[in-house]
Point group: none
Chain length 225, copies 4
Amino acid sequence: MGIAERRAREKEELRSKILEAAGQLFVEQGFQNVSLRKIADRIEYSPATIYLYFRDKAELLNTLCGETFSQLLAALLELEKADADPLSKLRAGLRFYIDFGLQHPNHYLLTFCTPHHHCRQLEKTPEFEQTNRTALETFDCLRRSLQHCRQVGLLEFEDLELTAQTVWMFIHGTVSLLILNSGDPHFPWCEKEQLIENSLDLVLASLKCGARTGTTKQQHPVAHW
Amino acid sequence: MGIAERRAREKEELRSKILEAAGQLFVEQGFQNVSLRKIADRIEYSPATIYLYFRDKAELLNTLCGETFSQLLAALLELEKADADPLSKLRAGLRFYIDFGLQHPNHYLLTFCTPHHHCRQLEKTPEFEQTNRTALETFDCLRRSLQHCRQVGLLEFEDLELTAQTVWMFIHGTVSLLILNSGDPHFPWCEKEQLIENSLDLVLASLKCGARTGTTKQQHPVAHW
Amino acid sequence: MGIAERRAREKEELRSKILEAAGQLFVEQGFQNVSLRKIADRIEYSPATIYLYFRDKAELLNTLCGETFSQLLAALLELEKADADPLSKLRAGLRFYIDFGLQHPNHYLLTFCTPHHHCRQLEKTPEFEQTNRTALETFDCLRRSLQHCRQVGLLEFEDLELTAQTVWMFIHGTVSLLILNSGDPHFPWCEKEQLIENSLDLVLASLKCGARTGTTKQQHPVAHW
Amino acid sequence: MGIAERRAREKEELRSKILEAAGQLFVEQGFQNVSLRKIADRIEYSPATIYLYFRDKAELLNTLCGETFSQLLAALLELEKADADPLSKLRAGLRFYIDFGLQHPNHYLLTFCTPHHHCRQLEKTPEFEQTNRTALETFDCLRRSLQHCRQVGLLEFEDLELTAQTVWMFIHGTVSLLILNSGDPHFPWCEKEQLIENSLDLVLASLKCGARTGTTKQQHPVAHW
DNA sequence: TATGAATGAGACTTCATTCAT
DNA sequence: GATGAATGAAGTCTCATTCAT
């Protein structure tokens, strides 16, 4: 009994070690430059061992993304239950999303900033379906939160879906640039905390005023390249 | 003299050919799938020839991005001269930036969505310096444009630098997600044009209302992972 | 006592299961594509278990071939007992050999069409000795059958051993080409049944006429390559 | 001029070296067990170098077979011109075929005794088409030779195609067993030269007597396994 | 007895890069 | 200036085999 338990525990630990090593290497060396061999080297196991835990490289990556989403979703669902006004909760959720990305830069880049050309073949696997469902649920949190704010009159907007997607794009822009360029000495970056809070301020402000009010769509020259 | 001139001209032409072929291939096949051999094949030269023009692959890529963003800068500077109100010109500039990204998705991803681990060794090369200067100048366009709008009372904000960086982050979020996920069938994306225009609307709205007005910074739980 | 017996029986059953699964897989997937893991998967045991029954892959294969050819021998011995004239029985035996090969193409290929480089180490094992004895006995059937035919005047030939070996070579040629190329669309193969019967006709005809009669050994140019 | 020539010569030499090494290794280690690495090691070149001469392993094998056929065909066509009676020429051709196989055992096994599962993808390449055409032409030599013998009354048979294919099967049986088992100490093989000549004697005898004469197709028990 | 876990070796293949010519 | 030839390193992945439990 104890033996079986210990085995299961050890197996789970190695699995985690693989995922952790993979995540670290992605940050250190860039996603494309990490091979299964390097991951195996880092944890001092044979490359073949990895195949005992993940069918192939694609599944390893997918798992990495999936785990990230699960954690994020769980935390966001927790935040929803908080006893606070909808706007505060919206802001807290967005802030949480940003912090989460900054604390898991490798997973974030992997999930949102990397072309997933390998997904074609994964689309039918149950793991992928699961990851996908989690992602959609996560986005649902944002929809709900915005909807709440509108219902109680704290925010104004017409199209919920369009608004939610735009808000996500903005916040994603903040997270991804902070991850990628925070250490770049060639650009006079403002202080990180300031950038985050200002992002949240602007996003919420844009929805408070009623975005469309007085805004005229301008004619713009089309870029031909 | 004529001979030397012709030689110099030919040399420059081949250099351009290489860059052009590389750029095309990036668009066609995606960044990761382009090898020097493929570039060489397309222009019907030997792979070794490329090394007469670029020290290594990194330098080739860096040059390519640099040249691409020179085009962006040139176009944005052109837009500045237009005879229009500052707000329209700001909006046109942002729109142009988005379109540019969508039309050069691979260059955009390479420049803004990829960790640049290879830059260490490039930092001292004159090509890199040049690229960097271009990037800073491009960002200056945004600063100037925002400043104009504030001066004439069309927009309100306190910190110019902070605002410019935040605006860029938002717009970058729009571009990068549109590039990466526009074809993703697993997410109910809104129509691309709608997303772009809504992004511009919201960004400008946030600056019109005076972002800080009435916004209270919320206490938020810190994420521990 | 009962326990020991049951255990021995169970052990023998698992051994049979392994051999059976291996045989099936060879037919289904071709010889080269069968790994120990696939065999283990099919019987729902661990790959390691196979090593409790067979020293290594080579021994497994050897045993498999040995058992298969035991079946051939048994059937041929049965045919011998039939109440028919010797020539009919010779023909029936050869026909049986051909059919057997076509029904066990992978075993046949493995045994007769594949260089046995691994035999060196196997030569001393009792399993190999057994296999070998079976093969020799099988060939003895052919010798006996030919001898019978000669004794009763149905066939004419001088050297029994030489004749038997030649007949086997011919029939082997028929079997092996039918196995390897029967599905080849690039060659205008005659109908399989025709080829088999014609082979038998020609073989027997050659022995009826007295092969040497009137045949002059021709001078032939030696091939130098 | 001299330089280009030398280069071309050197390139051709290396190509030959690769093919030669591959052929040797097939004999020594068995076809399935030869990897590109081993071939590269033997000629003391890098594995990658082989890819400069052959697209992949399949093309290397195909070339090997193709070259063999070409040599065989050329020699057989030469034999056809000889001034001799058709029967002698037929026998000489068959003998030549046997000798050729014994002198190129690796090529022979590769071409005629190995399942060509990899050909599916090759079928459309011009190299494969060429190899195939050569093979068909080679078989045509046999057809013509048999036809000549029949025309001048030296041999009797009904169906030319059926007869040619059967003769080939017989001769192939002789060649392939001699190649594979000539060194087998477990079987009391007759002397090689005797086996060859006896094969030729029997084949020709079977066609002289008129195979069908007096041969009754026997009822035979069907093998059920 | 049976096996889960692990691995060394090796499979085919591609790539960025170098160098003699 | 241009390149044909060559390669070391690395890529993903499979396999027969071992061993502690």
